[in-house]
C-alpha cells in the first residue's frame, strides 16, 4: 500500500490540482481496514470538485462509516492528465483514504447524476483492472449504482450488477447486511444477486430480458425466472425529519463547485413543472422541521468551519418556514461571518426582504428561472410564473442595490415557436427597462441569459415528446445571439449535440448501452466537458452497432408504447403523466399540489407514504 502511495506521490507534481488525489481532508474518515467486514468504494464518475459537491456522497459516506463493520472510501474520475500518467506507469485507480486499488474492495458504488458521465464509469473500472461487463466479473467487486439516472437503468444493464432505485439511505444498510452475510458464508455472486433482487428497490439487470418489436420499440422487459419481481418499486424515505443527515462534512482543501455546507431542508417538489424529472421522481415533498435544521446547522458549522451554509432542495423558497429559518440562521451566525445561501430561487416565491437579509452577510447573485419566454409556453410547461412576477421581484431587487441578474431558459420545449424564442429576449429587455426605471440609466447593469436545450426525460409528462432537432436549436441560438446584443447582455448557450446525446442515453434501452461501450472503447470520456467531448466518435459508435440515435431522441412516442424504464415504478403513475401531457398541449395549468392533491399516485406506492400537509 505504501508502495502505491510512493508511486502516486511521484506523479503529483506533474498534474493539475494534485490535491484531487491526496485525501487527508478534515472530516474524512480513516479506519483500520483489518477491523471492518466490508470495504465499500463510493465512486463518483467525474472529477473531485464535482463529486465532492454532491449531497448524496456526503450522506452515504457518513452513514456507512457510522457502521463499525463497514469502511466507505471515496474515489473520483482522475482528470486526463493524471489518467495518462497512471496508465503509463501502471498505477491502478485507488481510493483517496487509504490508497487501496479499487479491485480490492468488496463493493464499488457509482452514483448516476448525469448521462454524459457514463463513459467515465467504464473508464474507472478499466483503470481498476476490472472487466467492464458484469458477465466477465467473476471474483471481482460487486458493482452497484444508484442516483436519479438509475430510474432508467437500461443503458448500463450490461455493466452494473445491481441498481438501487430511490433514496439510497433507505436501502443501503440492507444491501451491506446482505453482502456481509454472503461474504461470511462464501455465497457466490449469482446467488447474492438473486437474494438482493428480493429487496424492494433493487434491480438486478442480469435477471431480466429486454425484447423488441419490429419497429425497434420495446416489446417487454421480463424476469428470466420465477420469484423475481416484475416491477421495481422505488424506495422512499418516509419521514425525512427522522432520517439520517450527516452533522459532519468533508472540507476539501481546493475550491470545489459548491464549496459550502449543504443542508437539505426538504426533498421533493409540488410545483409539477412538466419538463422536470427531479420534480416527478423525488415526490412526495418531505420536510425537515425547523428545529432539526437549526440543530444540524449548528453542528455542521462547528464541525466544518465553513463560511457559508446553503439551504438546498429543488425549490427552497417553498419550505414552509423559510423566512423564519433564514432569519434565525443569519442572526445566529452573522458575527462569525457565516452566511446563508439559497441556491435556487423562484421568482414568484422569492421574498426580496429575505434576500436583503441574506446579502447583509454575504453578497449573492440574483438568479431567476422563467424557463420560457412567453406566457403561452410557460403555461405549456406548467411553470406558474408571470411577467408581472418577474417585473415585481427584479424591481425590488434593483431598489435594494442589485446590479446583475441571471436568467435561465430552455430552448426546444414542446410547441415552441420563434415567437417564444423572441420572448426570451423580450423578457431580458424588460428586466433592463425595470432597471432603468429604478436607476434612471442602465449603467452598471449586467443581464446574463442562459439557455439549455430541452431534454425529454423518463417519468415526465414530456417523455412521449421528441427533442427539437439540432439544426433548429442552432437557429434559435443564433437568433438569440442577434437579439441579445449590447453591453448589458451576455448570452450563454449549451452545446446542442451534448443535449442530443443526453436525450438518447436518458431514454435509451440496452442497445444504447452497447453504443456507450463502443464509444468508450474508441476513446470517449468526460463527455460533459466541452474540451473532451467527441461527438463524431459517438456517432461512429452508434453506426458500428447499427443503432440510430435519432430514434431515441426525435421519435414521437405513442401513449401505449412500452418504455425501457417501465420496469421501474417511481410512484408517479403513467396515467397522471399522460393527463399532464394532454393538458400541456392545451396550455392548461395544474396547481401546486400543496393546495390540493392533483392525484399523481405517489401515495399508493407504498405503505406510509404521506404527502406534505400544512
Amino acid at each position: 500500500m505504501s508502495d502505491l502511495k510512493n508511486k502516486i506521490d511521484d506523479l503529483l507534481m506533474k498534474v493539475n490540482k494534485p490535491a484531487r488525489y491526496t485525501g487527508g481532508e478534515i472530516n474524512s474518515v480513516i479506519k483500520d481496514v483489518d477491523k471492518v467486514k466490508i470495504r465499500f468504494a463510493f465512486a463518483f464518475p467525474d472529477v473531485y470538485e464535482v463529486g465532492m459537491s454532491h449531497l448524496g456522497l456526503k450522506i452515504l459516506y457518513s452513514l456507512m462509516n457510522e457502521r463499525d463493520d463497514t469502511y466507505c472510501e471515496r474515489v473520483f474520475a482522475p482528470w486526463v492528465d493524471m489518467e495518462s500518467l497512471m496508465r503509463e506507469r501502471d498505477i491502478p485507480l485507488f481510493s483517496l483514504e487509504t490508497k487501496t486499488p479499487l479491485n480490492m474492495f468488496d463493493v464499488i458504488g457509482f452514483t448516476l447524476q448525469y448521462e454524459l458521465s457514463y463513459t467515465n464509469i467504464l473508464n474507472m473500472l478499466d483503470l481498476s483492472k476490472i472487466p467492464i461487463r458484469s458477465k466477465d466479473r467473476k471474483g471481482y467487486p460487486l458493482i452497484i449504482a444508484g442516483g436519479p439516472c438509475a430510474v432508467n437503468p437500461a443503458p448500463l444493464s450490461d455493466v452494473v450488477d445491481l441498481f438501487v432505485i430511490g433514496d439510497g439511505e433507505e436501502i443501503i444498510n440492507e444491501i451491506l447486511d446482505l453482502v456481509i452475510s454472503c461474504k461470511k458464508d462464501n455465497v457466490p455472486k449469482e446467488e447474492l444477486l438473486r437474494r438482493a433482487s428480493k429487496i424492494q428497490g433493487v434491480y438486478v439487470p442480469s435477471l431480466y430480458v429486454e425484447t423488441y418489436n419490429d419497429d425497434n420499440t420495446i416489446k417487454s422487459i421480463k424476469p428470466i425466472e420465477d420469484g423475481i419481481p416484475a416491477v421495481i418499486k422505488r424506495r422512499i424515505v418516509k419521514d425525512l425529519d427522522k432520517t439520517y443527515h450527516p452533522d459532519k462534512q468533508i472540507v476539501p482543501f481546493i475550491n470545489i463547485v459548491h464549496d459550502r455546507i449543504v443542508l437539505e431542508v426538504f426533498r421533493g417538489c409540488t410545483r409539477g413543472c412538466r419538463f422536470c424529472q427531479a420534480g416527478m421522481i423525488y415526490r412526495p415533498v418531505r420536510e425537515r422541521s425547523k428545529e432539526t435544521l437549526i440543530e444540524l446547522a449548528d453542528k455542521l458549522i462547528k464541525s466544518t468551519g465553513y463560511e457559508e451554509i446553503s439551504l438546498t432542495s429543488l425549490s427552497t423558497c417553498d419550505y414552509s418556514q423559510i423566512e423564519s429559518l433564514v432569519y434565525d440562521l443569519i442572526e445566529k451566525y452573522k458575527e462569525i461571518g457565516t452566511g446563508v445561501a439559497l441556491p435556487s430561487t423562484r421568482i414568484d416565491a422569492f421574498s426580496v426582504n429575505l434576500l436583503n437579509e441574506i446579502q447583509k452577510v454575504r453578497k449573492t447573485g440574483l438568479t431567476l428561472a422563467p424557463e420560457a419566454g412567453t406566457q403561452r409556453l410557460r403555461d405549456v410547461i406548467n411553470k406558474g410564473v408571470t411577467e408581472e412576477d418577474l417585473v415585481n421581484s427584479t424591481k425590488e431587487a434593483f431598489k435594494a442595490g442589485w446590479k446583475s441578474v441571471k436568467l435561465y431558459f430552455m430552448l426546444g420545449l414542446p410547441t415552441e415557436t420563434m415567437e417564444d424564442v423572441k420572448g426570451i429576449s423580450d423578457l431580458a429587455h424588460l428586466v433592463a427597462d425595470v432597471y432603468k426605471d429604478v436607476n434612471g440609466t442602465t449603467r452598471g447593469l449586467k443581464i446574463t441569459v442562459s439557455t439549455s436545450t430541452f431534454v425529454p426525460k423518463p417519468f415526465t409528462p414530456f417523455q412521449w415528446y421528441p427533442q427539437d432537432d439540432m439544426e433548429s436549436i442552432i437557429n434559435k441560438q443564433n437568433y438569440l445571439k442577434e437579439l441579445l446584443r449590447g453591453k448589458i447582455f451576455s448570452y450563454n448557450w449549451h452545446e446542442p449535440n451534448m443535449s442530443f446525446l443526453e436525450a438518447v442515453i436518458s431514454k435509451g434501452d440496452r442497445k444504447v448501452g452497447q453504443a456507450i461501450i463502443k464509444a468508450w472503447e474508441s476513446g470517449c470520456k468526460f463527455d460533459g466537458w466541452d474540451e473532451q467531448f467527441k461527438f463524431d466518435k459517438w456517432m461512429a459508435a452508434f453506426e458500428s452497432i447499427g443503432v440510430d440515435p435519432k430514434f431515441y431522441a426525435y421519435k414521437k412516442r405513442d401513449f401505449d408504447e412500452v418504455f425501457p424504464w417501465d420496469i421501474v415504478d417511481v410512484g408517479v403513475k403513467k396515467d397522471y403523466l399522460k393527463r399532464e401531457c394532454k393538458k400541456a398541449i392545451e396550455g392548461r395549468l395544474t396547481g401546486d399540489c400543496r393546495l390540493y392533491c392533483t392525484g399523481c399516485g405517489i401515495k399508493d406506492l407504498d405503505e406510509g407514504v404521506v404527502c406534505f400537509e400544512t
Binding site: D10, L12, M13, K14, P18, A19, T22, G23, G24, E25, I26, V251, F253, I254, N255, I301, K302, S303, T304, G305, Y306, E307, E335, I336, G337, T338, V361, R362, K363
Partner: protein
C-alpha cells in the same frame, strides 16, 4: 489584538496552493471557535495576512501569518486550540502578540531553505562546483511573473548556497535568499546551478523546504 503565528506545513499539504492554505486556516479558526475580526464590505473575510507565498509542492517549517482577534486570547491557547482543528500536515509551532501596527510584510527580509535534488549523473566535487558557480560576477536568469518574464541577476538575491549532505544520488542543498517584491524562489537557484553544471539534476523531482523566514 494582533497575533503572529509561526507554522509548519508538510506531508500531503505541500500540494495545496497559497490560497487553499489561507482558506484552510480560516476554517480551522472557525472550528476552533476563535473569534477573529472581519473586514468590512460585501464579502467579509478574516483579517489575516501571510508572509511570502510558498510555491506549490514546497513544505515549510517556519512560515508566519498575522491575525487580528476580537477581544483577547492567550497566544498559548490560540496555538493549542487551533492545532486541534488543523488538518494533518499543518501545525502552529509558535504564537505571540504583536503591535497592531506591526506588519509582517515589512518584517520578512530573508528566507532559509533546504532543497533535495537527485543527481542523474555523477559530479566529481559538488561543493567545489557550487563555489565556482557563486564565484561568477553575475548570474542572469529569466524569471516568470504575472506581467511576463524578465531577466534578473540572481547574485543579488543569494545570501548563501552550500551542500549540506549527499546520500547516494540524493543531495541536500542549503539556500539562503533575500526576500523582496518579486524576488526569485530557490527553484530558480537550483535551475541556474543545474544549467551551470550541464544538467545533472532530475528537475522533475525536487523537494523544497522553507526552513525558516527570518524576521527583523
Amino acid at each position: 489584538m494582533k497575533l503572529r503565528a509561526k507554522f509548519k506545513k508538510d506531508g500531503d499539504l505541500r500540494y495545496i496552493s497559497h490560497l487553499d492554505l489561507m482558506r484552510t486556516i480560516e476554517r480551522a479558526m472557525r472550528r476552533a471557535q476563535i473569534k477573529f475580526s472581519l473586514s468590512k464590505g460585501f464579502n467579509p473575510h478574516p483579517l489575516i495576512s501571510f508572509g511570502p507565498a510558498l510555491s506549490m509542492g514546497a513544505t515549510t517549517h517556519g512560515d508566519y501569518f498575522d491575525v487580528v482577534i476580537e477581544g483577547e486570547i492567550e497566544p498559548e491557547r490560540f496555538k493549542r486550540d487551533l492545532n486541534k482543528t488543523l488538518p494533518n500536515g499543518l501545525e502552529i509551532v509558535d504564537c505571540y502578540i504583536v503591535d497592531d501596527k506591526d506588519l509582517l510584510s515589512n518584517k520578512v527580509k530573508e528566507a532559509e531553505y533546504t532543497v533535495d535534488v537527485y543527481l542523474m549523473s555523477h559530479v566529481i566535487d559538488l561543493p567545489d562546483e557550487i563555489k565556482r558557480f557563486l564565484g561568477r560576477d553575475e548570474i542572469f536568469i529569466e524569471k516568470e511573473s504575472k506581467s511576463g518574464s524578465k531577466i534578473i541577476d540572481l547574485k543579488n538575491y543569494i545570501l548563501d548556497l552550500k551542500m549540506i549532505e549527499a546520500k547516494g544520488s540524493k543531495v541536500t542543498l542549503y539556500v539562503k535568499l533575500k526576500i523582496s517584491e518579486g524576488s526569485p524562489g530557490p527553484i530558480y537557484v537550483v535551475k541556474a546551478l543545474d544549467d551551470f553544471l550541464g544538467h545533472v539534476f532530475d528537475m522533475e523531482k525536487i523537494l523544497v523546504d522553507r526552513r525558516n523566514l527570518i524576521l527583523n
